[in-house]
């Protein structure tokens, strides 16, 4: 009899051509998609060239997205992007996304239907965990890994143990996926799920939008997780059926599957969360934040730059202005989100609030450009990391929060929730 398996184990087993796998086992598995960006792909491309590779396993299964430092922030970035562009031309990659079509990779791939339920995906970017929200097994790897995967169509994995996190209860107002995942990271720590698969489940998840699910899976890596998966359901089906251009498979954990740990979280007690410097696990509920003046608010990134995030920010910002001497930077994550936000009139609200609206880019999240902090400056941001120097100067500070809190904080000039604006 085949041992009962979790959804993560099932996807890995199927792609390794095995009936079953168990935690700890090292496997070689076929991948459905290989992803690289302007930071990681250039090293991979040079590695491929170094060993004399002249073919790729399948051009249609390689996705290249220049998103971190584009539109080119400086000459060196221009060189990196050119290297990628030339590679895409040479190998005739159908999924190379030039500026004007691109978006932040982890918002773009699900939106374009490139990642589907049941897939096994490797990406040379740690936030590749995002696609777990679609019921895919997807994980971040390094440049050398994708170089090898682009040649062979395979990658090696150590089958992870699975940690199950059950979310129960109704969310409070202004609490979304960001708060659920920040709360979880706060509880288990930045290495709480090290080497493990995280599986998010429970009544709260069943009622959570796809955008919020993507936010949760995105930040699984911030707890050290290998992936952050959510079993497919009605919401998944609704999201993928209009986008998919190839067949896909819904996989589920068996009832008897073994988990290394099960954590139950009572969502009714969770307020909007704020992660203080310098770790994503350093969280406090919004009511315990105190007086933290800010210089900048950023709403965007692969974590929170989707349509729902922008709509939430607009609900808070409507008829309000950001505080004097405070910068508000809003970055829709893809061209499609950008266009839709514009159509819905969100840009009017943002412009009236004295925000700047940027073209899609990872930009400030990793201190690249488009909102770098000076010494002593402080930002509240919907991004994913608040390590020392993450958004600029090593003596600047980053506070992580959801879009409603970031928007409200920009109006208040200090960290605070929408409730302080009587919302």
């Amino acid at each position: 009899m085949i041992r009962p398996m979790t959804i993560s184990e099932k996807i890995l087993a199927e792609h390794a051509g095995l009936h079953e796998v168990e935690p700890g086992q090292l496997i070689n598995a076929r991948v459905d998609l290989v992803l690289g960006n302007d930071i990681t792909a250039p090293i991979a491309i040079e590695e491929m060239r170094r060993i004399g590779a002249t073919t790729v396993f399948d051009p249609a299964k390689i996705v290249m997205v220049p998103d971190h430092f584009v539109p080119n922030k400086d000459i060196k970035s221009a060189q990196q992007c050119q290297l990628m562009r030339e590679f895409a031309k040479e190998f005739q990659l159908p999924h190379y996304f030039e500026v004007g079509e691109m978006g932040i990779e982890h918002a773009l791939l699900p939106e374009q239907g490139l990642v589907l339920p049941g897939d096994l995906v490797v990406g040379a970017d740690s936030h590749t965990t995002t696609y777990g929200a679609l019921g895919a097994f997807s994980t971040g790897v390094g440049s050398t890994d994708i170089a090898a995967a682009m040649i062979t169509g395979e990658a090696w994995f150590r089958v992870p143990e699975t940690m199950r996190i059950i979310f129960q209860g109704k969310r409070r107002p202004w609490v979304d996926g960001k708060d659920l995942i920040l709360f979880t990271i706060g509880k288990i720590g930045v290495d709480g799920a090290l080497y493990k698969a995280m599986e998010f489940t429970g009544e709260t998840i069943a009622n959570l939008s796809m955008d919020s699910r993507l936010t949760m899976s995105n930040m699984a890596i911030e707890a050290g997780g290998k992936n952050g998966i959510i079993a497919p359901d009605k919401i998944t089906k609704e999201y993928v059926q209009s986008r998919a251009k190839r067949p896909y498979k819904f996989q589920y954990s068996d009832g008897q599957a073994k988990y290394s740990q099960t954590l139950e979280i009572d969502v009714t007690r969770i307020e909007p969360q704020v992660a203080f410097p310098h770790l994503p696990s350093n969280v406090k509920p919004i009511s315990a934040v105190g007086n933290v003046p800010i210089d900048q608010a950023v709403i965007g990134s692969c974590t929170n730059g989707r349509l729902e995030d922008l709509r939430t920010a607009a609900r808070v910002l409507k008829g309000r202005k950001r505080a004097p001497y405070t910068r508000l930077i809003i970055i829709p994550a893809t061209q499609e989100i950008y266009r839709q936000a514009m159509k819905e009139g969100l840009f009017e609200i943002f412009l009236d609030a004295l925000a700047v609206i940027s073209t899609p880019t990872c930009g400030p999240c990793l201190g690249g450009y488009m909102g770098v902090l000076n010494k002593g400056e402080r930002a509240v941001t919907t991004t994913n990391r608040n390590f020392v120097g993450r958004m600029g100067h090593p003596e600047s500070e980053v506070y992580l929060a959801n879009p409603a809190v970031a928007a409200a904080s920009s109006v208040l000039g200090r960290i605070g929730g929408p409730e302080e604006l009587n919302l």
Binding site: I43, G140, V141, T144, D191, V388, R390
Partner: protein, 165 residues
């Protein structure tokens, strides 16, 4: 391989932004990457280390981004190997893939101070603190990963076993 070198000790959760800040990721030049190693912790760090020095760190070394620039910067700065209580998983696989020797030993980390000298045998996992005379044992490396190391990293492995001549 046997390494002998001076210890640079770090705490828990050393992230890849600390190892090499993101503002320097717009390059594929390993020497340039190495020149920014640990710059935000100590701007003069690269001038203070000697080739063959060893990094010793607490839990979850290399957490954060997937940037292979991090192990590359460490290797090209001349650091011989890293010993930690545990590693963030992408950093762990990157190190094997590109050939930076890394070992896991909680005891060795607890028994080692900044500036002490270690002798490390990366094959047997034997770690000797030459300053105190104490010896430790690192966790064994799984056979597949030994194979990767023996082949000279993942790309050489692919070249050897997976590519058509």
């Amino acid at each position: 391989m046997i390494f002998k070198g001076k210890v640079w000790k770090f705490g828990a959760n050393v992230d890849t932004d600390a190892i090499i800040p993101a503002r320097y990721l717009n390059t594929t030049d390993p020497v340039e990457m190495a020149s920014h190693l640990m710059e935000d912790i100590d701007p003069k760090f690269i001038e203070k280390i000697q080739p063959g020095d060893i990094f010793v760190a607490d839990e979850n070394f290399g957490c954060g981004s997937s940037r292979e620039h991090a192990p590359i910067a460490i290797k090209y700065a001349g650091i011989a190997c890293v010993i930690a209580k545990s590693y963030a998983r992408i950093f762990y696989r990157n190190s094997f893939n590109m050939g930076l020797p890394i070992l896991e030993s909680a005891e060795a980390v607890d028994g080692t101070q900044q500036g002490e000298e270690l002798r490390v045998d990366s094959e047997t996992g034997a770690i000797e603190n030459l300053s105190t005379g104490k010896t430790y044992k690192a966790q064994l490396i799984p056979p597949f990963m030994q194979q990767l190391i023996e082949a000279g990293g993942l790309m050489s492995y692919v070249q050897k076993f997976k590519m058509k001549a």
